[in-house]
């Protein structure tokens, strides 16, 4: 049975190369649906069992390689499948303009890598044995690399792809080192199973740190995030959505999986995760506010949401440390539910961003404006994603944040002073992150869609075709469903958190709260409905006029020049967080030479302080050092022969004198 499935998948994937351009997409889609059905069935099987589901695959260097699916893996399978499916549906419309310019091989390679990404991500969450896990992890990075550099005609995209690849390999180095340490110390094979033994007998924190750095680079915690901010804008939008939606969640999966084996040293680990996550959350969203490129902005928001997930996981670990199952289960449930929620609304946001890019061919929000009139459906979907990511009811972001809040507040009462202060710091951090997210998304939505047109770029825009809208509607429905009916997610999350926490009864006790939330949200919708009806009735009776926006009847110039620009909206944050966001202003002062001043300019740009100091400066220093050494590379073969002779003479002298 397994062999048949394997053969079908392999041939189907390779078959993409043989088909003409139009049909390649459908081949990929069909294969993906097949994969989703198969893994969905496995998921269903795993939920109704006591222990994890185990399926033996094959033998590799003397080890048994099996698929091991527990609730955590099943949950991630669900997240992966939903995001890849909607991404694939969306890509049909998005890639259409590219079909003309790219060759058959390029498109086939893209679809093949898409499929490879899907397969490798599924295998990563289902495998426990070390070598196969690492092989598929590497395949995932390589496939993602090829997907990112799809638009390889631009140099900056290739640079972003290479940065991504290098940082993924640095991460890989950390992970494999940690695995090897565990394996050698315990004498078992490389794999997650050796972790169990290792963490029982040795201190947990150092090896956990290695794993955290490795998986954290993938996840995008600050200061390990610098690949994210280059890769997301460079990749085509359906890939950006999938990257933010699931690829970075693979890092979270890794960290949580490692945590399932750790039973000592939990408090320092928990506090450490919490602090890194708070920093990631606040810094991520603060830097996002000053961006002008909306895809970079969304990338920074992914960092912020990884921070929120990390806060949930951090307090979950702290709960395990002090044997407080309430804190532990609510923290983990909140953090992991946010994995799903973030995958949903972030992919929605990236897909709508892709639609905007397709219509306007610019990523700079200062050139957009007034798109609401031209692309109403896209605008409403973007607004939905924006409200969800800010954690506002009645959408799903609020539910996961609410779970984390409840965990924090409930544990506040049974903790000692130091822990209380830490928990309060978490509460304040979440509140501040929420406020900053509202600030950022009101800015981005308003500048792109509202007001009047700021430049010519939007002249030819119109609503995108329905094949691109359909997957976004599906995500939108899911967002609203989880938001308004959160009790649906209680039992699944109890199972998932149950992998780490033994006593998840507090989650089941939340049923009353969840129905309270649903009832109040239903009341909200009822009120809105009633008022809408009143308004509709009134509008028939009352007199309505249309006119220009009131601007004190100033007839001097074009109103579009007077509306707020993105930089002005973000001005307060730039002022208060100057060190952090690193916004530089370039302008020329007006001089007093003539009666009327001459033309001048004003430009702002921002740079990431971590990117500059951690990556660009050392790399720049290294490169300039290398350039000096490159003097030796003259290209002249006589010089190289000279180097060889000098080396031999030096070695001879040294060994004669017995130094070596």
């Amino acid at each position: 049975m397994k062999e048949i499935i394997f053969i079908i998948i392999t041939f189907s994937a390779l078959g993409i190369f043989t088909l003409p351009k139009r049909s390649q997409y459908y081949q990929m889609l069909v294969t993906q649906i097949f994969l989703i059905v198969v893994t969905g069935y496995l998921m269903y099987l795993s939920f109704n069992r006591i222990g994890p589901l185990q399926i033996y695959l094959f033998e590799l260097i003397g080890n048994d390689v099996s698929l091991v699916i527990d609730s955590l893996s099943a949950f991630f399978i669900f997240v992966i499948n939903i995001t890849i499916l909607t991404g694939a549906l969306y890509s049909k419309g998005y890639l259409k303009p590219y079909l003309r310019d790219k060759t058959r091989l390029e498109m086939a390679w893209h679809y093949f890598n898409f499929l490879l990404l899907h397969i490798s991500m599924l295998m990563v969450v289902m495998l426990r044995e070390g070598i196969s896990f690492l092989v598929f992890w590497e395949l995932m990075s390589v496939a993602a690399f090829f997907l990112i550099i799809f638009e390889s005609d631009k140099q900056e995209n290739k640079d972003a792809g290479i940065k991504f690849l290098i940082q993924m390999h640095v991460a890989f180095y950390f992970i494999i080192t940690a695995f090897i340490i565990c394996s050698i110390a315990t004498g078992q094979n490389i794999g997650f199973d050796s972790l169990e033994q290792y963490f029982k007998t040795y201190p947990s924190f150092p090896v956990f740190l290695l794993f955290f750095i490795g998986f954290g680079i993938k996840a995008g915690f600050i200061p390990l995030h610098t690949w994210l901010i280059h890769a997301h804008p460079a990749a085509p939008s359906h890939i950006s959505g999938i990257m933010s939606g699931v690829i970075i969640k693979m890092g979270i999966y890794g960290i949580v999986r490692v945590l399932t084996y750790i039973h000592s040293d939990l408090m320092p680990i928990g506090v450490f995760i919490l602090i890194i996550s708070i920093i990631s959350g606040i810094f991520g969203v603060a830097i996002a506010i000053v961006q002008h490129d909306y895809k970079k902005l969304l990338a920074y928001h992914s960092i912020e949401n990884i921070g929120i997930i990390g806060i949930g996981i951090g307090i979950g670990v702290m709960g395990l440390a002090i044997n407080n199952p309430v804190l532990a289960s609510l923290g983990f449930a909140g953090g992991l539910l946010h994995v799903l929620n973030h995958a949903l609304f972030k992919s929605l946001l990236f897909y709508t961003a892709g639609s905007i890019y397709q219509q306007t061919h610019t990523r700079n929000i200062e050139n957009l404006g007034g798109l609401m009139k031209k692309m109403p459906a896209t605008a409403v979907l973007f607004l939905l994603g924006a409200a969800a990511i800010s954690g506002l009811p009645p959408f799903n972001g609020f539910i996961s944040e609410f779970l984390i809040y409840t965990g924090l507040f409930k544990s506040l009462m049974v903790s000692d002073s130091i822990l209380s202060v830490t928990l309060l710091a978490g509460i304040v951090a979440l509140a501040v992150i929420g406020g900053l997210a509202v600030f950022c998304f009101t800015k981005i939505f308003s500048i792109i869609f509202l007001g009047t047109v700021r430049s010519d770029k939007t002249r030819h825009s119109h609503e995108v075709r329905s094949s691109m809208l359909f997957p976004k509607f599906i995500i939108g429905i899911l967002i609203i469903a989880i938001g308004v009916m959160p009790f649906l997610m209680l039992r699944p999350m109890a199972f998932v958190a149950g992998v780490i926490v033994d006593d998840t009864s507090s989650l089941r006790d939340m049923a009353g709260t969840m129905s309270g939330i649903s009832l109040s949200l239903s009341l909200l919708i009822v009120f809105i409905g009633i008022l809408l009806l009143i308004k509709l009735k009134l509008s028939k009776v009352r007199h309505t006029d249309i006119g220009p926006t009131w601007g004190c009847a100033y007839t001097g110039s074009d109103p579009a020049l007077h509306q707020y620009s993105a930089t002005s909206y973000a001005e307060y944050i730039i002022m208060k967080a100057r060190l952090l966001v690193g916004v530089k202003k370039h302008f020329r002062y007006l001089t007093k030479e003539k009666i009327f001043p001459s033309e001048t300019y004003f430009k702002t740009e921002s740079s990431d302080v971590f990117d500059d100091n951690l990556i660009s400066r050392p790399v720049g220093g290294l490169l300039s050092f290398m350039e000096k050494i490159a003097v030796f590379q003259t290209g002249n073969i006589q010089h190289y022969l000279l180097y060889a002779i000098v080396f031999v003479i030096v070695i001879t002298i040294i060994s004669i004198f017995g130094i070596i």
């Binding site: 007199h543 006029d545 006119g547 220009p548 009131w550 009847a553 007839t555």
Partner: protein, 251 residues
């Protein structure tokens, strides 16, 4: 800090006029003119030459149009036995014909029949106005500002000036409506939601005053819309304005 200010408050005592409808102004105030005797034709010619703003009309007998009168009192000083100015400040009306004072008139009448029904229905308890200064000498704007101060406090009836025409129920125009302000006035009028009232305050607004013949004045706006209230005066006294508005909204 607060104690000191409360003490000052107590020292000042009651600052506001208790009843705006029955207040009595100083006899020096130039309010409604009375015509005790019709002047002879010769005197009429001289009075017409005296009047700086053509406020004397001789159709249907001698009359002073206080919509055009600048209250300079030259006619009363020249012929004190024929014409005199009283301190009656209730000179606002919604009918331009009622602004002409003839012999024997004892008050400026308000015409209840031409008040639009929606004005009475909506604005009895709250009226928000937007003031447009259409190129005058700012004296009426001062007086309107005073209508909202501690002394007169028209806010007690729910009447106040607001900043945005979208929030307003009516436009109050002062000044003769110059060419440069005509477009802005139209934009402001269009920007306020209906039903709305139009009030003209001051001689300049009602008739153009001394600038009526100027080429810099463009009063086409007034031909388009019905005016709900005329408040004469140069400048109009706050009590005139307030009593006029109160009569308009039916209080």
């Amino acid at each position: 800090m607060i104690i000191k200010e409360l003490k000052i408050l107590r020292q000042h005592g009651i600052q506001y006029v208790p009843d705006l409808k029955t207040a009595v102004l100083t006899p020096l105030f130039r309010g409604r003119p009375v015509i005790k005797e019709d002047p002879t034709d010769q005197e009429t010619e001289k009075i017409k030459k005296l009047c700086p703003s053509n406020a004397i009309t001789t159709e249907d007998g001698f009359g002073i149009d206080i919509g055009k009168c600048v209250f300079c009192k030259e006619c009363a000083l020249a012929y004190p036995d024929k014409i005199a100015f009283t301190n009656d400040y209730k000179i606002a009306s919604n009918d331009k014909n009622n602004l002409i004072v003839r012999k024997g008139d004892s008050e400026i009448k308000f015409n209840e029949n031409i008040v639009r029904p929606e004005v009475r229905k909506l604005f009895k308890n709250a009226l928000k106005l937007r003031q447009v200064s259409a190129g005058g000498d700012n004296s009426c704007e001062f007086e309107l500002y005073a209508a909202g101060n501690v002394n007169f406090d028209m806010g007690r009836y729910g009447i106040e000036f607001v900043a945005s025409p979208r929030h307003a129920d009516g436009i109050v125009i002062t000044g003769p409506i110059t060419e440069n302000m005509s477009e802005a006035l139209q934009i402001c009028w269009d920007a306020s939601p209906g039903p709305k009232v139009l009030i003209l305050v001051g001689t300049d607004a009602i008739s153009g005053g001394m600038f009526a013949d100027s080429h810099a004045v463009n009063r086409k706006f007034l031909e388009k819309y019905p005016v709900d209230l005329y408040v004469p005066g140069n400048p109009a006294h706050p009590l005139t304005f307030i009593n006029g508005v109160l009569r308009l909204i039916g209080k």
